[in-house]
Symmetry: C2
Subunit: 177 residues, 2 copies
DNA sequence: CCGAGTTAGTTGAACTTTCTACGAACCCAT
DNA sequence: ATGGGTTCGTAGAAAGTTCAACTAACTCGG
């Protein structure tokens, strides 16, 4: 008896597991494989063309979306679902690279504000072209709009449910409370 | 002028970028946010319940799918789209944890075969329950089957296109050549 | 058979992320 | 005002990943 059969057969599992049927399994696998290849590709394209990772790019996008291109460290952490520590390290690197500058918050003396520099802005403008083109070429333009919308519905349902269980996740989805 | 406008406006970008329209942007964002929260959650659930990461779990699944629960190191690397080096390190840790044992290949004296131990098998059986339950609760059971199938179509199209551009990606999708 | 080129896997250093602990500042009920 | 609880951000160590260099073994045209 091989593993696939065992893993798919209720007979073997002690606390009866409700396995996926073949179609569900196939769709789930398509999602995992496609997502892995897609995110790897978008990350690689950004690194090659502009020397930043997808995560660093997303930090720049978030900064660009504020009026003064500035965010508190904690806001970056929450909106990216990263630890504060991770944001400290990442922003330190981006500061060393000249993309971000840090200064003490006026209103909260514990606080630190990360501000995108002009160099960061220029990099973002260039990187955004690469990124959006990649998203189109590797994702948006490949599917019928109805299918793409269905995917959006599914993924919104996923977020809704996870945010409901974990209120702190709400920070990832602005304009939705 | 703020970033969102600039990023969405063709006027500012030098090599005219074809930006996403509002609906596309919203669906793309739903996909990224949902995927981040979903994969983080599945990883966390496996770590908490069984002390392994989602990546380690997937290695065990791949091993379980072979007749003798054995794979060459390179096969693991290719099917996971990981570097050989990464697989060496990861399998070393899993070997230390008693989940995998390594032995020299009979047929190719360069080769190393990773074999799932009985302990690894037992861990997998338990972890599979956690994982499948999570996939159901946080994903499959949240959507209408038609939407889920549409998502599968989209993600298969994504893989098809990326594999076409990068033939080495084909290793991620067995039974599709 | 030979040797150039390729493939398998490991190693250790560099880099990134996670984990833990910490000090400083805020909040607020007393 | 003050002291307990919380939040902010950092720092360094531990854990994991990437990168570059390397050895060994396979392949195959000559």
């Amino acid at each position: 008896m091989n593993a696939v059969q065992v893993l798919e057969s209720p007979a073997m599992s002690a606390p009866e597991t409700h396995w996926l049927d073949d179609d569900q399994q196939s769709d789930w696998r398509a999602y995992i494989v496609g997502t892995t290849l897609l995110l790897d590709t978008l990350d690689r394209e950004l690194r090659q063309a502009h020397g930043i990772s997808l995560g660093e790019y997303e930090i720049l996008v978030r900064l660009s979306e504020t009026p003064d291109r500035t965010l508190r460290m904690a806001q970056i952490a929450e909106s990216m679902q990263h630890s504060r520590s991770r944001v400290t390290h990442t922003v330190s690197r981006m500061e060393k690279a000249g993309l971000i500058s840090r200064c003490a918050s006026e209103t909260d003396r514990r606080g630190v504000e990360a501000k995108m520099t002009d160099a960061g802005w220029e990099l973002l403008v260039a990187a955004a072209h690469t990124h959006v083109t990649g998203v189109r070429n590797h994702f948006v333009d490949l599917a019928r709009p109805e299918d793409f919308q269905a995917l959006g519905r599914v993924m919104n349902a996923v977020s809704d449910q996870l945010v409901e269980e974990n209120p702190e996740f709400a920070d990832m989805r602005p304009g939705r409370d």
